[in-house]
Point group: C2
Chain length 327, copies 2
């Protein structure tokens, strides 16, 4: 354990949680899970140049490294409590550069951690290529967690927010010459890439109501495919129903926005299925929580995800979603 750097992050993310019996500074943290709660636990890694562009601001990296993990808790309907951080930093940098990175990283991490009262309870810093692993722990009452396995034939498929923004933001960064810096739609899309919002309140609201749920990290087609596989069902979605932001629609043509929405990763919206009788209630509740939810299709017998075009024909998407490792 390396405490000096982790301490600087901890100072910025201090939380008065009485379930943290012993925080950072010993060989392990000591934590008390509240009675009547199960623990939801997940870990995700971001690698520079793979999961975020090389010139991403440290604060955005701090935010995103936590956000992608909180999004997994959201997808389970769990409430966040604690995080562990493993940070590998290039040795070649000067001490000042490392300090500046840490301060920026801590700022972004804390901006997302604080409103959720998430406490950083452990960490490790090592030298090497820039890599960030975060493990998060959340609480969920026994039997109430949302999984990928419960979708039923006849369920309606919904997604929170809008789709394709993050992939479009990445496209703009990689083809920066096409759009002027400071452009509001561009900034919005890049912000969706760098500062995704984990849908934690929506996840909790979906307990007892959604039959299946996950977060969209690899693209709608790939991730909805996971629900189909785990639930032994198929899904049909209508491309005209895919929710797309005005920023996305303003900068790209119809085919591009559809492809971004179907296959773009990194949106971290929730995709979930509910019985048709509950759709209106769920939509009203999620609208109150500020993220909205759009019906995009339905669960059918069979397997796999099919996409219907406006003219009723079936689409053969060129890309079936992101796979960082296989890419």
């Amino acid at each position: 354990m390396e405490f000096r750097l982790i301490d600087r992050i901890r100072e910025r993310t201090a939380q008065g949680r009485d379930d943290v019996r012993l925080g950072i500074g010993d060989d392990a943290a000591l934590l008390a899970v509240p009675e009547g709660q199960e623990l939801a636990v997940t870990i995700d890694t971001l690698v520079e140049g793979v999961h975020f562009p090389r010139d991403t601001a440290p604060a955005d990296i701090g935010w995103k490294s936590l956000a992608v993990n909180l999004s997994d808790l959201a997808a389970m309907g769990a409430s966040p409590a604690w995080a562990l951080l493993a940070l590998t930093l290039p040795k070649a940098q000067s001490a000042d550069a490392i300090q500046a990175f840490i301060d920026g990283f801590a700022e972004g991490f804390a901006q997302l951690a604080q409103p959720h009262r998430l406490a950083l309870v452990g960490g490790d810093t090592t030298s090497g290529p820039l890599t960030i692993s975060v493990a998060v722990h959340g609480f969920v009452p026994p039997g109430k967690a949302l999984t990928r396995a419960g979708a039923k034939v006849g369920d309606v498929v919904l997604v929170t927010g809008t789709l394709g923004d993050a992939a479009a933001g990445l496209y703009l960064l990689q083809h920066g010459g096409r759009v002027e810096a400071g452009d509001a739609p561009r900034d919005y899309l890049v912000g969706r890439l760098n500062r995704p919002t984990p849908r934690l309140a929506a996840g909790v609201a979906l307990r007892d109501r959604a039959n299946a749920c996950l977060d969209i990290s690899d693209g709608l087609l790939a991730d909805l495919g996971h629900i189909c596989e785990e639930s032994s069902v198929g899904a049909e979605i209508d491309s005209v129903l895919l929710p797309r932001s005005s920023a996305l629609l303003g900068l790209f043509d119809e085919t591009s926005t559809r492809d971004f929405a179907l296959s773009g990763g990194d949106d971290y919206e929730l995709c979930f299925t509910v019985p048709s009788t509950r759709v209106a209630d769920v939509q009203a509740d999620l609208a109150r929580l500020g993220c909205g939810a759009t019906r995009i299709g339905r669960i059918v017998e069979g397997s796999g995800v099919r996409v219907r075009e406006a003219d009723g024909s079936w689409l053969e998407p060129a890309r079936q979603g992101w796979d960082h490792f296989a890419a």
Copy 2:
């Protein structure tokens, strides 16, 4: 989450733990902490070329990445339960090479996990420079955990096992020409580097008995220094009392073995302090557990660690232990 590679590891580390309500395969694992237990949680990262030599066998990497974390649980007196794994693998390798690495890694990981009934409950694989972060979770009754903060003036300082072996093993790997391959003492020392044994049973036995405890990952001087700092005390140790293996003593001169024992990292033995009245009992119990414990000094008023030589003079060690990041 990337399940195909993680699944291959999980298949080899399957455990019938009924506290794992939902294992690998969804957005998060669902876990139940037994009533009357607190959770001890820690994370550590190994980077190729920093924490293990570049040609280390995948099985050794798998073992060690878990061992360094279990050692932290041992130092708290906690019993291991669950692990998360974040594995970053070079993309340049062929699919066959990745598969071979994964199979070897899983074998070593499982060899250590299985006797402790530790379940792998989550993971992530990404592409990038070889980096392994493992987070482990263990149980400890409330108030029974061992910390670094309880050492008292008059306590006896003890260590489990022998010291300096891992650092000597690394030295031999880095200066391989000096000793023939297949040499038993050399293999022993390299094995101590590559396959450290977390002192889990000893840690549990020290609950209620040790006033302070940690594991020696950065070297005795540095780590005992942490106990002194956290406990607001000093420590005096006698270099002639440092337990050294016959393999170490057979291959190196007295000064080298002393320096390895004082400052070498990666031994993952426990260093702990107990009131003098309990020393004999503790030593007898740890001997029964097969690791033994040697008294090496005492806790005194003041601060910092001082080392007394055989002639009664005080040593000024050239190296104050490893610091991977500052190195």
